[in-house]
Amino acid sequence: MECTILIGGQAGQGLASIERELAALLFRLGYFFFATKFYMSRIRGGHNDHLFRIAERPVHALSGESWDVLVSLDEETQRRCKADLSARGLCLSPAEIAEIEKRAKDGFSNVVMSNPLLVGVLLRIIGVRSDALEAAAREEDQPAALLAGMALAEEWDMADRFVLQPRAESPYTFDGNSAIGFGSLLGGCQFMAAYPMTPATSLMLYVAKAALELPVHFEQAEDEIAAINMALGASYAGLRSMVATSGGGFALMTEAVSLAGMTETPIVIVIAQRPGPSTGLPTRTEQGDLNVVLSAGHGEFPRLVYAPGSLQEAVDLAKRSFEMADRYQIPVFILTDQYLADSIQLLEGSPELSVALRQYEIFDASYRRYALTPDGLSPLTYPGLGEALVRVDSDEHTEAGKITEDLDLRVRMVDKRLRKASRMDKDAVLPTLYGDRDADICLISWGSNREIVEEAADRLTSEGHPVAALHFSQVYPLVPAMLEGVSLAGKRLIAIENNATGQFAGLLKRELSLEINDMILKYNGLCFSVRELCDEVAARFFVPGGVK
């Protein structure tokens, strides 16, 4: 049993707080749910959709089935979405919304109370009763209005139309960016400099708020160039540091990515993707910046790129990023996107709360920042500890960090920097193989598509179209070990990507000689839904009775 709810209307009509209140109550009531939003780059007006999927088992994607409940705050939503209502679906049209507003004004002398009223209606539809609600609601949730909403649902004969049992024991809820923020703090991040840019802004806000109480500094920079250079300064000075941005802002950071590579200054860079090129669609989703991240920064130096596909991966990989950035003294990238950033999900299980700690080794005056070592890793320390002077240079440099034009030394320094990469194999995060391992078809995904593809694999298999799914959350480097144990030979490989050219497919070919046979690409700015993916796979790769 599931219930899917679409709440649509204009920016400024209170959608964001309805989303917040509904999510908070579903969470506290113990429901499994998934919420995401399709929104325009507008402060007021336009048309935004907030999408909820409530279920009796964990859900982490849009199902793509027709809507069970449609809430239209404006006529436009009603017009656009009415056709997608399921057969037994309920509709709260602008007329009902007006009635809710009237009740809010009449009963509470405050039109803002329509939000909890509406939430009450919706909760009642999925079978929530007043006693449960009273137990879960807090003062700020406006229990009276919620209860009035429940009564209204009964009045409208909508109560219990999609009864769901609260079965979740997941004690935590996150959106994708908070999960990265939380993971970063676990990773020992103590410094962030940032310039606002959708859809990375919420991650900045997360750290800015955390910095109020924790030994963490957040600095709003004058531009992205300043942001990353500040972060490199702070990292050099001894704090684990990060920046976050989206494609256009990242472009401005790329000179400093190369600087991080050359100076071997650890840094974590989060890129929340949105559709490009250029300003593109600022509030939509895409996976179009993989290539850019793979080769950003002129010259040659090692890097690591993670692309989490679930909340747990977001927490874990964010934490891991800081460890790896320090271990290899390199820039580490986290590629996420608007879809993951803005999706609210439950974290099943309790996160491990140990905080990664930096080492502060103390050296004497003989310290050389770039000492040549067999594994390419030179000892890292910070100014002001012991007698060591920490000297770093963007020019090619000596072991002591001074500018050099000794061309033999140049070669040794290039080799040293690249040598670090060869050790990274053993730290590779392996891809996850899911679904029917013996299937002839394997769906290959990276980043935020993981949960969508895995649910699609389940559904396809259960519908008689067996498929396997292979998900990469470390997208660079790709190492042969990643394909050991996943026998892809003979399988038809289908890349699922939220872009128009199949960038990851190209990378698999270049790095692992893996030939992708087909691609399912989506680039209208929205995520895949499970249904849509299933339909596409079934139609393109299956015939009745088997694989095409």
């Binding site: 969470f27 506290r28 004690p171 935590y172 809820t173 908070s178 939380f182 703090l185 676990l186 020992g188 103590q190 410094f191 400099a193 955390a210 924790l214 030994p215 963490v216 500094h217 600095e219 920079a221 160039i225 300043a226 942001a227 250079n229 500040m230 972060a231 490199l232 300064g233 702070a234 990292s235 050099y236 000075a237 001894g238 704090l239 540091s241 400093a256 600087l259 100076t263 974290l347 996160p351 709360l353 140990s354 905080v355 502060y360 100014p383 002001g384 500890l385 012991g386 007698e387 060591a388 002077l389 920490v390 000297r391 770093v392 240079d393 963007s394 020019d395 960090g401 001074k402 500018i403």
Partner: protein
């Protein structure tokens, strides 16, 4: 030349004297090298940290300031000094000059102003005079030169001064004062470039430079001093406003860390049902 290896500047370059003055200032202030962080960009002046005793971050052209801001925010206890060229600090890095000054952190910002791009062999810089012929200006520079000190005053820098490489002792004094000042101290240093600037030479400056006895008493007076140009070029402290304290930094962060308890709290408060 201590143990800094061969110096990459041209013989006669004004940077030698600036280096000496800065070395002297740091020595006389008795700041141990391990507590000094010099940040610089790219250019001839930006090589300065290579020839001084201290930690350094010799980063990107134009980006010495944000690196310094990051270092200072992370480690307020360190003495952080930016030193780069006019092209670096006022040209490529102009946006950081604008906005870093607004932060009023306890930084010293030094610019070796030779009115030219030295390392790239002689193009006009933001401070090049009108009409001056340079590599890309065969007809003469057509852009109004930037007045860095007037700019710094308008941007609210509390300590603003000009020095001259030809007056090493005086410069050393200025640098000491700037480093000791609590807040952002901006010092523009007239630096003859013997290879690419054949006009603003030592002789040129010697004829024009005069010492200020006292700083301007407020921003307006300081601005008036900053506007003096042509035949008389004041050096010294234009503005020294000790009434404003520098922006507070977060306090001690270094070697302090978020604890599992902190994370537990945060988890419950922001992500939990509690």
């Amino acid at each position: 030349m201590n143990d800094h290896g061969e110096i990459a500047w041209c013989p006669g370059c004004g940077n030698f004297a600036i280096r000496d003055a800065l070395e002297g200032a740091l020595a006389e202030l008795a700041i141990p090298p391990r507590e000094i962080v010099l940040t610089s960009g790219i250019g001839q002046a930006a090589k300065m940290p290579q020839y001084l005793a201290g930690n350094y971050f010799n980063g990107l052209h134009g980006r010495a300031l944000p690196v310094a801001v990051g270092v200072k925010l992370a480690r307020p206890e360190l003495t952080v000094i930016v030193v780069s060229g006019d092209g670096c600090n006022y040209g490529e890095g102009g946006n950081h000059f604008l906005h870093s000054l607004r932060r009023n952190l306890d930084l010293t910002v030094l610019t070796c102003n030779n009115q030219v791009y030295g390392l790239t062999k002689g193009q006009s810089s933001p401070t090049t005079d009108l009409g001056r012929m340079n590599m890309f200006d065969p007809r003469g520079n057509e852009n109004e030169p930037l007045n860095p000190l007037a700019l710094a005053i308008v941007l609210g820098a509390p300590f603003v001064a000009r020095g001259f490489a030809g007056e090493k002792e005086h410069l050393k004094g200025l640098l000491k004062e700037a480093i000791q000042f609590r807040g952002t101290a901006v010092v523009d240093i007239l630096q003859p470039c013997v290879s690419f600037n054949k006009v603003n030479t030592y002789a040129y400056y010697r004829k024009r430079v005069y010492r200020l006895d006292v700083p301007g008493k407020d921003r307006r007076e300081a601005l008036e001093i900053a506007e003096i140009q042509g035949d008389r070029i004041p050096v010294g402290v234009f503005l020294k406003d000790e009434s404003r304290s520098p922006r507070e930094t977060a306090g001690r962060l270094f070697r302090k860390s978020v604890t599992p308890g902190d994370m537990e709290n945060l988890l419950q408060k922001w992500h939990g049902a509690a």
